[in-house]
């Protein structure tokens, strides 16, 4: 039995790898975020001026920052804020984007045209810049950052979900529902929505990662989480001035952010392959 030289017809990538690694990292990130709400080795604000900028040791697993505060504790306790930014922004983006996409995808016509022109214009503003625009309107702070990132993410969701809706709406079961005399709301939410979950879940997962990063960026710029509270972005800002002395205060939050983003990304990609997996048996 031998596989002879064949021309490649693409095969779906090994979804399992992505999904497994992604899910693991995501779970880890979530654990850190949630755990931090309940417990941390030290109080995150506890100052210890005798052990400033220390390297990792048994007492401080990730070292200490410029005020002698335990990095690990701060990563844990600040984690939930970063998570809130990620999930909150995504949830908000979907809450805005989903109904709009269903409406325009279902009704089409002039409404669709106008809304899509609007959405296209919104998409030409980079997410971070859009978030800044909203912040300048509502002021800085954690909830404001969630609002800003959520609103900034919604045009993208509208675009993506709408194309899935258009796809589904073209199928005969929607026509059949119309022929039965079903109401518009039912068709959108009862017939079409169950068929567009897949891209929503995929893009949602991926967006959580990027929203988390965007949130950290806003906090880094001083426009997100405000002092004395801290999240991973704020920690990086504080750490970077002392990086020549010790990079540990930077490493802790940096690792947390990277691991989370990679986790959510991989999970999203893994889900994408899983949910759209086609049989590799070619049409005999």
């Amino acid at each position: 039995m031998s596989t002879l030289a064949t021309m490649s017809v693409p095969r779906p990538p090994r979804a399992n790898y992505y999904l497994v690694i992604g899910a693991t990292l995501t779970a880890l990130a979530l654990a850190v975020g949630l755990l931090g709400l309940l417990y941390s080795p030290y109080a995150p604000a506890k100052v210890d001026l005798l052990h400033r900028l220390a390297a990792p040791s048994a007492a401080h697993l990730l070292g200490t920052d410029r005020f002698g505060r335990d990095v690990l504790s701060r990563v844990l306790s600040g984690g939930w804020r970063s998570m809130t930014l990620g999930f909150g922004a995504t949830a908000l983006g979907l809450a805005i984007g989903l109904p709009v996409a269903l409406l325009t995808g279902f009704y089409r016509g002039r409404l669709d045209q106008i809304v899509m022109r609007f959405v296209d214009a919104l998409l030409s503003i980079p997410t971070l810049v859009f978030a800044l625009l909203v912040i300048v309107g509502v002021g800085p702070g954690l909830p404001q950052a969630v609002l800003a990132l959520g609103v900034a993410a919604s045009p993208k969701f509208v675009r993506i979900v709408r194309s899935a809706v258009l796809d589904a709406a073209g199928h005969d079961y929607v026509t059949a529902a119309k022929a039965r005399g079903e109401g518009a709301l039912y068709i959108q939410y009862g017939e079409i929505l169950p068929n567009v979950w897949a891209p929503i879940i995929v893009e949602g997962s991926i967006n959580v990662g990027f929203a988390l990063m965007g949130g950290a960026a806003l906090s880094y710029l001083g426009l997100g989480t405000q002092p004395p509270h801290a999240d991973w972005g704020v920690m990086i800002n504080e750490a970077q001035k002392y990086i020549s002395v010790s990079f540990w205060p930077l490493l802790g939050p940096a690792l947390a952010i990277c691991a989370s983003v990679v986790g959510f990304n991989l999970m999203g990609e893994g889900l994408r392959d899983r949910l759209h997996l086609r049989s590799s048996l070619s049409d005999v």
């Binding site: 039995m1 064949t6 021309m7 026509t175 039965r180 005399g181 169950p194 005999v284």
Partner: protein
């Protein structure tokens, strides 16, 4: 068959799916002699396309060739390297594909796509290649070759694209033409033209043709010999006329009687059951489960492909050579002639119906849109309990007509009267009532059923609505 051009010997191909090997083609033996047309028929899943792609050695990554060889002029195509294959593909063995729309490069003029074959294999330079391409386009009965040469695929109709593909395949006068369901994606009338074209060309150019299709009727028009595949196994192989008139295999019989015949005014008969996609075992006849004539032996012993005394004809059946054993049809059936049913008053009356589409909502909803007349001034009436068939090519407006009758089109001219009432004048309540009595069955079962709902949910919804209305 000592002068066979292509010899498929004992070919077995399986696909690795999710850790399991699913057989697609099993011990296929087939030869193709110069100039002859061999048709390979079978249902979807029979392995015919796999066999065809194997000849070109273009199988997917997860295909496993378990045994066999395919010889062409002494070269085993399954073991040749890419360089060798490149000298044969397009030059000596050429392929015509099922869907001409996707098979042509949308970003390249069609003329260039033909010319590059000439350049690659025959070393023709620009001028010569262009001239020869024009000749080829004329050969496939396309007018105005220079215009076609410069056209992109999207600017041509489906039939024209298929002709371009044929021209491309014939460019280097190959010995062998492989045709993979070349008419399936086309309209019936265009199909007929293309088949006629191939028949004419075959007389002129003298290539051997291996023609794969699930359409027995199409194959019958061209083939000298026909091979019948089922579940990857060759069930019967023989001269076309004889095979169709007196099939020597129960499966072939089933196929032949499943072909609708317009003149006979008789319902075609199907074969009960469906082809199994499970990994099959070699221990019995693959068709035994669905065969009307199967005996115990058929379920325990796999029949070999046996040569029949009439010569040049073989059948894989324990009853091969005993046509009497498989000719009596235990399930005789004929449809009651339609004229026997009593006539009644008109139920549905369509009067001067026209349906228009606005295409392209202009610019941001402003501006002029183009109107497309899908249905123009159609009138007919449909009495109770009668069947009216509306036939037409794609684009003839028949689907639009059907949807209009159910008031699924937003706006129409003319009238549709159901039991004396104008369908388009009904209010919401009466419209719902009407729709309970007028139902639609769609063409594509896959897309008309919501994949996220169970069958119970889908079927029951209608019933539930009915009951709700009754008790409202």
């Amino acid at each position: 068959m000592s002068d066979a051009l292509v010899e498929i010997k004992s070919l077995s191909v399986s696909f690795a799916v999710g850790g399991v090997l699913l057989p697609a083609v099993r011990e296929l033996n087939l030869t193709l002699s110069p100039n002859e047309v061999v048709g390979l028929v079978g249902e979807s899943g029979s392995g015919k396309s796999t066999a065809l792609l194997a000849v070109m050695n273009y199988l997917p990554d997860n295909a496993v060739v378990e045994s066999g060889s395919i010889l062409y002029r002494g070269v085993d195509l399954l073991r040749a390297n890419r360089a060798t294959l490149d000298t044969i593909r397009g030059r000596r063995i050429a392929m015509i594909y099922q869907d001409p729309t996707t098979a042509l490069n949308p970003a390249m003029a069609v003329g260039a796509q033909i010319a590059e074959v000439l350049g690659q294999h025959l070393g023709m330079d620009g001028e010569h290649a262009r001239a020869r391409t024009h000749e080829l386009l004329r050969l496939v009965q396309l007018d105005d070759p220079p215009r076609i040469y410069a056209s992109y695929p999207h600017q041509l109709s489906g039939g024209m694209r298929q002709r371009v593909m044929i021209a491309m395949a014939l460019a280097c006068s190959p010995d062998v033409l492989l045709m993979d369901e070349p008419t399936t994606a086309l309209d019936v009338i265009v199909q007929a033209h293309v088949l006629a074209l191939v028949r004419t060309l075959h007389r002129q150019i003298q290539s051997a043709i291996l023609f794969v299709s699930h359409n027995l009727g199409a194959v019958a028009q061209l083939a000298d010999r026909i091979g019948v595949l089922y579940a990857g196994e060759l069930m019967e192989l023989g001269p076309a006329t004889r095979l169709l008139e007196e099939p020597q295999n129960p499966y072939t019989r089933g196929l032949v009687s499943a072909v609708p015949q317009i003149a006979a005014r008789r319902l075609p008969r199907g074969i009960p059951g469906t082809a199994s996609r499970e990994p099959l075992r070699f221990s019995h006849c693959v068709f035994a489960d669905r065969c009307a004539f199967a005996i115990d032996l058929c379920h325990t012993d796999r029949p070999a492909l046996m040569d029949l005394p009439s010569g040049n004809h073989a059948s894989r059946c324990h009853f091969a050579g005993e046509p009497a054993r498989i000719s009596a049809d235990p399930r005789g059936r004929s449809a009651s002639p339609a004229s026997a049913r009593a006539d009644s008053g008109p139920l549905l009356e369509v009067s001067r119906l026209s349906v228009e589409y606005r295409q392209g909502a202009g610019f941001l909803g402003l501006g002029r849109a183009r109107t497309l007349r899908a249905v123009r001034d159609v009138s007919f009436h449909l009495p109770r309990r009668r069947v009216l068939a509306i036939v037409g090519e794609s684009g003839s407006g028949k689907s639009t007509l059907a949807r209009a009758i159910l008031r699924l089109e937003p706006k129409v001219h003319g009238r549709i009267i159901f039991e004396g009432e104008d369908v388009y004048a009904l209010d919401a309540g009466h419209l719902r009532a009407y729709r309970r009595r007028a139902q639609i069955v769609f063409q594509n079962p896959t897309s008309s059923l919501n994949p996220r709902k169970t069958v119970a949910e889908i079927v029951a919804k209608g019933r539930y609505e009915k009951m709700k209305a009754k008790h409202a």
